[in-house]
Symmetry: C3
Subunit: 421 residues, 3 copies
């Protein structure tokens, strides 16, 4: 995953344009993405697909002809979605188009102007401090024209047509944790899950932020009722603790699965309530959809100093953190996949586990005790009203131990799956 982040890091992306397309193309052949191209001007709910934006070059030259700010050196230097411009300005005239971070004098901020036509440059405060009064030649050689918005989609079908949605935004330029970490993790999830048997179908979306999920939801309105769980993948490569943001409803199976996994994974995981501020869970969780979509991240966007600056670079992302994040996502998937409800076929008093070889006979073997406890919990609570996740939570045992006990009990015919009516 770290290699993936490193490979994609230099590309200049935006919510439309060739950088986004190139990013999705690079995911091949690991991720068999279907690319969708949606024309400029398409109405999607309250929004309109914007013009497509591409950059050739952009710079500011000083009076000696030296490029003091150059998009070629760092793609954050250009205000994302800048309209074309060419001219010579005094520093005074230029200033309203320059963005810096006075508190972090070495970092370049990341700024966008998607929905207001403007141009500008982002630079470090030190760069700005080094610019003397005088006139500057400015070139913003971009195109903002009718074209397409691109997004990638991949469906891994399962036994059931109900879907688990995994969505990441892939529209940020050279920013590593937000959100190339999410792109890399989502890609790895596709690879891993494509090799496993699946109960649920899995739909993966690689979309531009905000407008991306809006486009997808507008084009798939009726399909959303198939979504039984979903996760927005963002900021998963730094070394912060896990942070799970609940879905709008807050108590869906997805929420309970994620909280269960985080409770047993160790570390200082934090669970927080849904709020309408954040990433694309805002759209999935709008009241007209109210989908059971949460977001599992490490340090949430906006809460680490490097956020949306040039300091969110390859040094912020760690291979081991990405790997641990993937493990955590897979644990949640494991709960969603395995969370079934059974009925104890011998509900009156305990069955005699001993004569079925499921109970140590003389006692005292500590290693067997947890296994026996798990079996007793599954038998006791499998009255048709408790799922295995319910049982794991009440027993305060990790889900996999409950699943293992369930398999043993199924093996001797003591359980039967309760099929939904």
């Amino acid at each position: 995953m770290y290699q993936r982040v490193a490979e994609l890091y230099p590309i200049c992306r935006s919510i439309t344009g060739d950088g986004f397309r190139e990013t999705l193309r690079r995911l091949h052949p690991d991720v068999a993405l279907q690319l969708h191209e949606v024309p400029t001007g398409t109405r999607v709910f309250d929004w309109t697909v914007p013009k497509e934006w591409n950059v050739r070059e952009a710079w500011i030259k000083d009076s000696r002809g030296e490029k003091v700010v150059d998009f070629a050196r760092h793609n954050l230097h250009l205000l994302n979605y800048s309209v074309p411009f060419c001219g010579t300005l005094t520093l005074e005239e230029l200033r309203p188009h320059l963005y810096t971070l006075p508190d972090r004098p070495d970092w370049i901020p990341y700024r966008t102007s998607y929905y207001k036509e403007d141009w500008g440059f982002c630079l470090s405060q030190r760069q700005l401090d080094g610019m003397s009064e005088g006139s500057y030649e400015v070139l913003v050689d971009t195109s903002l024209a009718d074209g397409y918005l691109t997004y990638g989609e991949c469906l891994l079908p399962g036994e059931e047509t109900d879907e688990v949605l995994v969505s990441c935004h892939a529209c940020h330029p050279s920013l590593a944790n937000d959100n190339l970490s999410g792109v890399a993790l989502t890609s790895a999830l596709v690879s891993t899950l494509s090799r496993l048997e699946r109960r649920w179908s899995y739909r993966f979306l690689f979309v531009p932020g905000t407008i991306g999920p809006i486009v997808w939801l507008a084009r798939n309105d009726e399909r959303t009722e198939k979504i039984r769980a979903g996760l927005v993948v963002a900021c998963v490569g730094d070394s912060g603790s896990f942070n799970f943001k609940r879905s709008r409803r807050g108590n869906t199976e997805l929420d309970r699965a994620a909280e269960h996994v985080l409770r047993h994974i160790g570390g200082d995981a934090v669970v927080e309530d849904f709020s309408p501020y954040g990433y694309d869970e805002r759209q999935y969780g709008s009241p007209g959809f109210d989908l059971p979509v949460g977001s599992l991240r490490r340090t949430p966007h906006g809460r680490y100093p490097q956020y949306h600056t040039s300091a969110d670079d390859l040094s912020l992302v760690r291979a081991d953190c990405l790997a641990e994040s993937l493990r955590c996502y897979l644990e949640i998937v494991r709960v969603l996949e395995g969370n079934r409800t059974y009925v104890n076929l011998n509900p009156k008093c305990e069955p005699q586990l001993g004569r079925r070889g499921l109970y140590s006979l003389v006692g005292g073997r500590t290693d067997a005790e947890r296994r026996e406890m798990a079996m007793l919990w599954v038998l006791n609570l499998s009255d048709g009203s408790n799922s295995l996740l319910d049982i794991a939570e009440r027993a305060r045992m990790p889900f996999p131990e409950i699943v293992a006990a369930t398999r043993e009990l199924l093996g001797v015919g003591l359980l039967e799956e309760r099929k939904a009516a």
Copy 2:
């Protein structure tokens, strides 16, 4: 308000009689009270309106003819509702009729004998200690005779006929915090609300404690179903923290509004559950009515040492505390007035706030962030099931910010009020 307390302080009040009438008359013209006179003997539920009590004079003279205890010096000196008496007694014979506070030797206690015919005097322990053996002439020149129980009522009609009830007891003699502070604050509420547009109707009661609300409830039994919220006003002039006592049901709109306001007003406000011990919320919260009436006070009655003694005087009440209490009551009224439920007319994905001028376009303006957050919360939760108070609570934002955001969204046609079925 402090002036009002000071003006009313010298009057000797009781649950009936001219002191109570005079107190209500003094509220004119600020408070356009309707005075009700209910005859002695009227049956009100389990109770009977008592005889009317009035005092001309009352004293104890020592053998030298000197008045050692005199109602004219402090109206607490006379056991409230003392029957007429005239005679000469030894100190020994007198003692069963004398009430003191040995632990607070300078304070005069406040005692009553409404429902048992008796006479007596309250005095400081020092006064009693100064009384030598010997005979004393006693005069209790009171009248306890058929008459009337008086109470004041004022209705400020609103758009709706549903009512908010505000009730204070006005039967205590020279006791400042309990409850002239309540009388003054209730009067100020009448003045303030009479000048504002009102969604709800407001009914104010100035009643004698216990028997007063019983009389009112007995005469207005069928009207109580119009009461959607209510507050008993008592002990609001001292410098203690706010204390809100919940209604019997505990989770009515009134309770939630009061708790919301106290959470955001700062300070160490305490919220406590209903109990059947207290002031007139006991009657409003009796099981046959179970009205949504709580009580907002500062230090509750019985929990400050000066309670029901001569030390509950003008020095215990502070003008700034009265003003802050009034503000708190008005904040609760503001929530009750403004708590409506809306429906987001663009429920699928967020509406594009930017093109409606409701979203800062380049970002980074901190002052705009809270306003935007409030709008996002209102849009996200306005699915018809959440009132603005629900939204403010879930967003953990003050109610007025949520109302302001709602107004902006109404202005651009993104919301519609949900009318109750």
Copy 3:
């Protein structure tokens, strides 16, 4: 009770056999038990009544003919349910049949082999250390043959046919706290309750662990719907704090009664959730029955070092602890007996307690205040939806005070019992 424990301590008991019968016989005449004899081979749900086990003698002799381990010295020495055996073995051959506690070198462990035919001896580590290599003569003169499983039952009928179940296991050999303390306390409960008027019927079971309640439940399946509360009595003689284990449902009247009593009894009582690991509450709480049966004990089984060793002897049990445990059980019974629901016949406003002699008239008598508070709570909450236990909990007052107030109010006709529909 301590005498009872001491008297029964020497008897060798098991889940079947004469030791169990003798134990029940000794409870006469205090406890009028009906003895049930269930034949070997009887099917009871998933289980089968085992063969009956009896012991004549059992020992290990060294080469000098000296008994180095002898059942006659301590009945724990024999692996409970050992099959007959007679032979001469080397120490090496003997070792797999010997059980010790290396960490507690002076204690004899208690081990059983009910459902696997085997023989063995339990001895202290010091005894084992003292055994030299060489050959040993072994005699296990037991019988394991078709016979009967015995259990004792006693029903104290009450006004109502609904039952409170009290169950203890009586199958352990010389182990004092687990569970002769339970046998003694249950016997004392029978004696005490037999002398009192009873609202509910009380059923007492003296059974072998696990197989005992299974037998009873299999033979009384339809009767279980009469059980409205139940307690499993175990480990009630040590000096540990009280520990109440909730029923499977966790919020039944029994659970609430026990928690209420423990909250007011003082000490560091602990309440814990049901788990399917423990004593016979496992069977009563199996999903096919789901009976409202909890367990009140002191230090729970398995959590004190002497558990299931020879150190669980008469020194571990204290007469005062047994007495306090009995008191606690009786308090719970008192709540179950007294928990009725009333309706306030004067629901609109408070009734005038003063003229009924229920209210102190001049005030200030502290001793009367709690009594008055209790009356106010009962009046306020007796709207037909709250039982006296609900009221005690909301008022945070001990149940008996609420009952006393209820009696006073009934005495003046202010309450009426609400009969279930």
